[in-house]
Homo-oligomer: 497 residues x 2
């Protein structure tokens, strides 16, 4: 059965376009386990680049990596009341530690969980690791000398989601979770804000995604947090995507796991906490922010392959000189730190190669035929913008680095323009409703904070408060766009993933 | 309750010494989940260096990374008869996807697996990923053009072990698993051998562990493999530790998951497979190979901190000049690629710092006091060997790099000497038994391959065949040390972890 390998346009069907791009760029595939995806090499390569860049930023801000167990004793989850409320409904539960053979009515041999190997207490597969980490912190923290404790973990987590979408929402996903412990509230709040800014800088500089930073309303807060900060990105259909969160956890987990320290005066105090995380969801954000109807578009900084060189030799005698030239060009690009791939597959036409690498989001294509060798240059095409031009062999390294830098800047500028064009100030609810319905977009409003009103708006419009933007909270003299009461917040409302 | 923080000597109690070193160097800690450990930052740092070095070697040999689901449908395991036999008895089984609230007789609220959320088919937590990966390979492989497929995965796996020991054997551990698919048997065997050599080179060059390479007897073969190759290391108590394996899987998984390809003649053939893996067990191998009664000793190439600088300023006015000098020294070492840490904790005496960093296995200590600043040098002590000497400030970078290189070579030389001294040729079983009992060690023997004889020797002596060493299989005219039959193998027998 032939597979349909066409990519729908964004205009035709935005959701289908997203799935088509993922399939055709070979980023991910469906697995036989419901809701779990396979990260194929090209998709994993993007995640690996994200991981390496973030890991450097975490280390520069004083954090170290560690690794905590996948399994959490079921009882741990109940210790923090809001936390169990938030996660109990989507936990994978391990109940047995052995299988046994079983023969069915037709004589077919299979396996089943061995009733004799039932666990005394079930284990849950971590949906997040606050509980087990704070249990360990209780063993490690004794004095003010042990603080702050700044630990990050790269791990897989499982949240049993019923409706899944590759990268954006899957039962298992890869992420990092930072968990820090502090002597004072002020330090903990500073840490939560610092890491939010690390995420925001990373999105701007590396993913070319112009996220906004904000804090969440209580309805959208992390289960167990006092305050949740977030970065929000606008996708090309103008929906919002929460791309990362940073939580000030107060002393909630210190209380639940009895974690105290002796302060410099010799008294015992509860420890203050933060946690913060981003996940493979960022790969989804990259796809949805930059790609087009031809396929994947990647910011050069996270592209597994930034440049593909395609040798073009129609006759055997041309091949040797072309390949020699290509080899030299490749070496120069590698020496300039460019991730370059030479596609030297024979029995495949150049056109088919162009098509494949465009779909896979390689930033720059360089074609080298006998005429290019003679002219000591390569014929180039950028993945975005459509320009075709020549790059001289001499100085090709720095020239290509400059082209990639320009592409990176261009992608950020385009995404920023989209966000600015589609973010609107609106003063009353009726206008908001009709504008949202007609044009989508983000709506910046004066707001009187009220969970019930927020829920009603969600029911009526499907829009939610994405955040209260940081640095944009001047409410003086403003009235709430919904209730008419004096506003105490500036809020961004939008449809979201 | 005060914790005992002493380290037993190797002579007193080798097993206790190993656990003491892990605790005092803060490499790992016990978790509340039976058999699962926490990798603390210092221990994780060693694994991270192992991972980065190996990952580079995998990429240089043409492999790419991907990520496959944590969960495997239970039925998959049964598809390959030997594979299920090998792993069914140690599988964590997920049976539910939700918890529900429950109130006990005392009114205490807790949670339990929700009976309404029982999975139709249980999932197992991967003990290894051959089955799910070959299911996916069935979707991805269609033609000879798709081969070879060379994929590696860095992941956590779970094998429910009853007797655990940190790093060496734990219920959950971190590892990499390479899974490759080939058009021919010859190519697959070459790949399995190539990756074994990659592991061996890595152990020699990076871990300073002089492993030997060999193939396993059928008793020790991987469940589902045609041939298992291994690297074996000698610990300081002369026991062997299997440090990594590489398997030629024949067409067993291709048959189980119906994976065929169209060859260049247009016919469909079954695909040939390999898999290969090393794990956090390597950290245990490093600890046991190099450490001493003072604590951890690390080869410089994997030490998270290679050099610690300890500023010594007894009076406040000394502090500024000392710290300025230390800052310059640190920059120079960083510029030479040295992983250096400045321990500038106040309110802690230098002696206490020396003690801590020695236990943690930092390769070189540099002390800087006012007199050193005047002399424009630093007073140094190597973690191993006990030499104390001065290093001039000018040219400190290259000088320290050279010292670290020498330490690395010294550790390899020491470990090699230990292995050579404790590996014996022996011609008859009685001598073997008495020598093994008296002195431990490895025994190189001529052997007639026979599983039952192997089992009897294990019963009587606890020694097993570690491997048939590669490149040392000249059996001509030799007779089996046990049966007296004409030998068909050279084998290494030893006690092993």
């Amino acid at each position: 059965m032939a597979q349909d390998n066409s990519i729908k346009t964004r205009e035709q069907d935005y959701s289908a376009w997203y799935l088509d791009v993922i399939r055709e760029a070979q980023l991910a595939d469906y697995s036989p386990v419901k809701g779990c995806m396979v990260l194929r090499p090209h998709g994993f390569g993007v995640w690996d680049n994200i991981k390496n860049d973030l890991d450097r930023r975490f280390k520069e801000t004083g954090h170290v990596n560690a690794y905590f167990p996948l399994f959490i004793p079921m009882e741990f989850l109940s210790r923090e009341a809001q936390h169990v409320e938030g996660f109990a409904k989507e936990c994978a539960v391990v109940t047995h530690h052995r299988l046994r053979s079983v023969t069915d009515a037709n004589g077919k041999v299979g396996v089943e969980p061995d009733p004799a190997a039932k666990l005394e207490e079930p284990l849950i597969v971590r949906p997040t690791s606050e509980t087990i980490i704070w249990h360990m912190y209780g063993r490690w923290i004794d004095s003010w000398r042990d603080l702050p404790l700044l630990i990050n973990q790269w791990a897989n987590v499982v949240r049993w989601e019923m409706k899944t979408r590759p990268f954006l929402r899957t039962a298992e996903f890869l992420w990092q979770e930072g968990h820090t412990a502090h002597a004072t509230e002020v330090e903990a709040v500073e840490e939560a804000e610092r890491m939010l800014q690390v995420y925001a800088d990373f999105c701007h500089e590396t993913l070319a995604i112009p996220v906004i930073t904000g804090s969440k309303s209580s309805a959208e807060r992390f289960a167990g947090a006092e305050d949740t900060y977030c970065i929000e990105a606008m996708m090309q259909n103008t929906w919002a995507l929460q791309a990362g969160t940073s939580h000030f956890l107060g002393q909630n987990f210190a209380k639940a796991f009895d974690v105290t320290f002796q302060n410099t005066e010799g008294e015992r105090e509860l420890v203050w906490a933060t946690s913060w995380g981003v996940s493979t969801r960022l790969v989804g954000a990259v796809i949805m922010t930059h790609s087009d109807d031809t396929g994947l578009v990647l910011p050069p900084k996270v592209a597994p392959i930034q440049v593909v060189i395609i040798p073009i030799a129609r006759k055997d005698h041309e091949r040797e000189t072309v390949m020699e030239f290509v080899g030299g060009l490749k070496s120069e690009l590698l020496a300039s730190g460019v991730r370059v791939h030479v596609d030297d597959r024979t029995k495949m036409k150049p056109g088919a190669k162009y098509y494949e690498w465009e779909r896979k989001g390689v930033c720059l294509r360089m074609e080298v035929g006998p005429r290019d060798v003679k002219g000591e240059s390569a014929f180039c095409k950028k993945r975005t913008g459509g320009d075709k031009f020549s790059v001289a062999r001499e100085g090709a390294g720095p020239a290509v680095v400059q082209i990639l830098t320009d592409i990176q800047a261009e992608l950020l500028a385009n995404a920023t323009a989209l966000r600015v064009e589609n973010t609107h100030d609106v003063a009353d609810y009726e206008t908001f409703k009709s504008e949202l319905k007609a044009n989508g977009g983000w709506y910046r409003v004066a707001w009187f904070d009220d969970g019930e009103a927020e829920a009603r708006i969600k029911d009526e419009t499907k829009a939610t408060i994405r955040c209260f933007p940081i640095g944009d909270q001047d409410v003086e003299g403003k009235t709430c766009f919904y209730s008419g009461k004096p506003a105490n917040r500036i809020a961004i409302f939008a449809r979201a993933y």
